[in-house]
């Protein structure tokens, strides 16, 4: 079993499926009167939140408590963190307290990777900067599977601010690992630049031929440590052209063939950075309203990781429709996180 969940890339198909299956069992247990399980008695889970995210923190807290773990909430506000203690010093403190797992939320991409190099326990990424949010992807995949019965071959559109979205990155990684086909939709300014370039076959051939033998030989001769050269880890990258089937700038054209539409939160601050001209124009081009929802196939579902900007990326009628899984996603979050905690902490360390 894996030790950390820093990225959805830490999960291969078998492990991801095991987590979803376990989450299903956990969900079944959630229906009974006594929800608490003795499984993680004596284990300590620290919620280390450098960003406010009440819903994610509560979800992890509920998950850990249902498994009888001791939960310590370490929030950036009112702690030594705000006095400028470094992440490393905080890590050493948690280490001394005997944390078996640290759930970290941080505004800096890669903070969970750094933390994992300083603590012995498991590190679970609860959202890092604009990088990843793997448990959100797990609960999304779980929600899709329970609504639609499968993930393999599912057509999923992820719509909105892909560039800044950790939810999008984790979902692309996890869902492609599990066989779904992703289409990223949004204004070109909010789709990471290399995806567009990678779609052109000539560009692709060009970049491949630039990888000269000379350099590779040079690096090997120098013996750069394998750990420092992640190109060798054999993991597919999230946004490699093989993993991504499509990018589209036109929401209307993709809707009729989708099984799932996942709307991303779009922050209105992006307007100041000229990613798009106005909220109104964004909403008109990329918002999911009732007319657009009608273009979806009968069975298709609408997802949103929350919190929503009603009227911006999603119309209230859509958010509250029977296609919407937004409330289920919250409930499934606890089950998915219980599954992750169990699988990371439930066995021999």
């Amino acid at each position: 079993m894996i030790k950390h969940l820093r990225s959805a890339a830490d999960l291969d198909a078998a492990t991801a499926t095991l987590i979803l299956d376990t989450a299903a069992e956990m969900a079944a247990l959630a229906g009974r009167e006594v929800k608490k399980l003795p499984t993680l008695r004596g284990r300590t889970v620290v919620n280390l939140f450098y960003e406010d995210s009440t819903r994610t923190r509560i979800s992890f807290e509920a998950a850990a408590k249902r498994l009888s773990a001791d939960v310590i909430n370490f929030s950036a506000k009112g702690s030594s963190v705000s006095k400028g203690e470094s992440l490393k010093d905080t890590a050493l403190t948690l280490q001394a307290m005997g944390a078996d797992a640290v759930v970290i939320r941080h505004s800096a991409s890669g903070a969970p990777h750094r933390l994992a190099s300083w603590v012995d326990g498991s590190v679970i990424n609860a959202g890092d900067g604009t990088h990843e949010h793997p448990t959100q992807a797990l609960l999304d995949a779980y929600t899709m599977r329970s609504r639609l019965g499968r993930l393999d071959g599912l057509k999923v559109a992820i719509v909105g601010d892909v560039l800044h979205s950790r939810v999008a990155r984790s979902n692309v990684l996890l869902l492609t690992t599990l066989g779904a086909e992703i289409t990223l939709v949004g204004p070109p300014t909010l789709i990471p630049v290399d995806i567009a370039a990678a779609l052109s076959p000539t560009e692709l051939a060009g970049s491949a031929s630039l990888r000269g033998d000379r350099l590779v030989t040079g690096e090997k001769a120098l013996g750069l440590p394998a750990s420092a050269n992640p190109a060798d880890d054999g993991k597919p990258s999230a946004f490699s052209p093989a993993a991504i089937t499509k990018v589209s700038y036109d929401l209307d054209s993709v809707l009729p063939v989708m099984d799932v539409v996942m709307m991303l939160r779009v922050q209105t601050e992006r307007m100041q950075d000229s990613y798009f001209p106005s909220a109104r124009e964004y909403s008109r081009r990329y918002g999911l309203d009732v007319a657009r929802m009608r273009k979806l196939p009968e069975h298709a579902i609408v997802m949103h990781p929350g919190p929503m900007n009603r009227g911006m990326e999603i119309a209230p009628e859509v958010a509250d429709s029977s296609r919407s899984t937004i409330v289920e996603q919250v409930a499934n979050g606890v089950s998915a996180r219980m599954a992750v905690l169990y699988l990371l902490l439930g066995g021999k360390a």
Partner: protein
């Protein structure tokens, strides 16, 4: 003054010969007592010259001092380093450049040639007193706001023109600031995957393109710091073909390392400009051989531990370079000694107008030279570096080549691979 006999040395890759160092110069006089050094299998190069070193003094003596940086330089085979102006206070007055120059003299391990700031406080608003720095004891010829780009085109034009009066040169840190706000690493597939804000190649290329046109327009010398992209190489190639007086440097790390290393999120790999792609590395190597890129400069950037042992986004950019530069260049260029001497000694000395450096090791020339054992291998251990900082990206890596000795005006600064003081 001890006289030395380097027995059986290969001068810049030539066949074995004897080299005598006496009274600060290369000599043919075999009389009297000679300290003999068995130099069989060793290569003598003119002392290396670094156009781009951050010595951190004054201001961040916890990261590096002129003395510790000088020692690192000598151990790396250097006899002269150009110290960048982004100290605290900024080297934007005659007083500060003279202070750095004096500290270098006191340390006595390499010639420390201060670089002056182009603008007051590196703020990019108003020209610093370039002439005063040029006529000071420090005799400044290179001016740079390195760390920041002289982004204002009118100010850049004025600076290029103004320094012509005293044969100065502007060394530009080419980075269009609006295109790199919040940038953390090369913008590309890896930055997309890692969720780190991208530093697009065009932000460098656009400034270089503008500046070569400005330099051409006013007929001035321009030097481009740490060129990092294949596109920049193309811009420079075209400019040079037109006869623009532009020179350019590349760092050892941009000749070897790629943006994939950021996937560890270990800020030891965070540097500005960022590590680029394998394609860029290949283009830079080619350009260095061809001469489109004139010199290898280290951009030696020491940082205190707390500035690197943190989240990637909070870390300061920069890597140590002085003690590993020649090894990296050896691994990239192989034993093309004349080319190495050119790119690491002769040309940088010429650009910096450093008399007595980068000269051929002929009888009568100043004895500024370094002895290299090309067959040696060493594993880089950050704890063993002479620099006060530890931020080398090569920790644990086996590198080819070892500096056996370095001489500054006939005096050894390094003997047996160890600094003499």
């Amino acid at each position: 003054m001890t006289a030395y006999l380097l027995k059986g040395v290969s001068v810049v890759g030539g066949s074995p010969t004897d080299l005598i160092i006496r009274d600060g110069v290369i000599s043919s006089d075999r009389s009297g007592a000679l300290e003999e050094i068995d130099a069989a299998g060793l290569v003598a190069l003119p002392g290396l010259v670094d156009l781009h070193t951050h010595l951190r003094e004054p201001g961040r003596e916890d990261a590096e001092t002129v003395e510790t940086g000088s020692r690192a330089a000598a151990l790396g085979g250097y006899t002269a380093v150009c110290a960048m102006a982004n100290t605290s206070p900024v080297a934007d007055t005659a007083g500060v450049v003279e202070q750095v120059w004096r500290l270098g003299r006191e340390a006595g391990l390499v010639d420390v040639q201060p670089i002056g700031a182009v603008t007051v406080g590196l703020a990019g608003k108003q020209l610093a007193e370039l002439g005063a720095m040029a006529t000071s004891a420090a005799n400044v010829r290179i001016f740079s706001d390195d760390g920041f780009c002289v982004a204002d085109p009118r100010l850049m034009r004025r600076a290029l023109e103004y320094v012509k009066a005293f044969d100065g040169i502007i060394a530009q840190h080419a980075e269009e600031p609006r295109l790199t706000e919040g940038a953390q690493m090369h913008e590309g597939e890896v930055s997309t995957r890692l969720g780190l804000t991208g530093w697009p190649a065009v932000a460098e290329e656009a400034i270089i393109a503008r500046d070569v046109l400005l330099a051409e327009h006013v007929g001035s010398r321009l030097h481009v710091c740490h060129v990092s992209t294949a596109g920049s190489v193309e811009v420079l190639r075209q400019a040079k073909a037109r006869g623009v007086l532009v020179t350019a440097e590349v760092t050892p790390h941009h000749l070897l390392l790629t943006d994939e290393l950021a996937a560890s999120y270990d800020p030891v790999f965070k540097v500005n400009p960022p590590l680029r792609t394998a394609g860029d590395v290949a283009a830079l190597r080619e350009a260095l051989v061809e001469g489109v890129i004139d010199v290898v400069a280290t951009d030696h950037a020491p940082h205190a531990v707390e500035d690197k042992e943190c989240e990637w986004a909070y870390a300061r950019p920069g890597m140590l370079g002085l003690e590993t530069a020649l090894s990296i260049v050896l691994s990239v260029l192989g034993d093309r000694w004349d080319l190495i001497a050119d790119r690491m000694s002769r040309t940088p000395a010429r650009i910096a107008r450093l008399a007595g450096h980068g000269t051929d090791l002929a009888v009568g020339s100043p004895a500024n030279l370094t002895l290299v054992d090309p067959s040696a291998r060493r594993v880089v251990d950050p704890a063993e570096l002479a620099s006060r900082s530890r931020n080398t990206p090569y920790s644990g890596t086996t590198l080819p080549g070892r500096i056996v000795a370095t001489f500054l005006r006939g005096e050894p600064t390094v003997l047996d691979g160890k600094a003499v003081k």
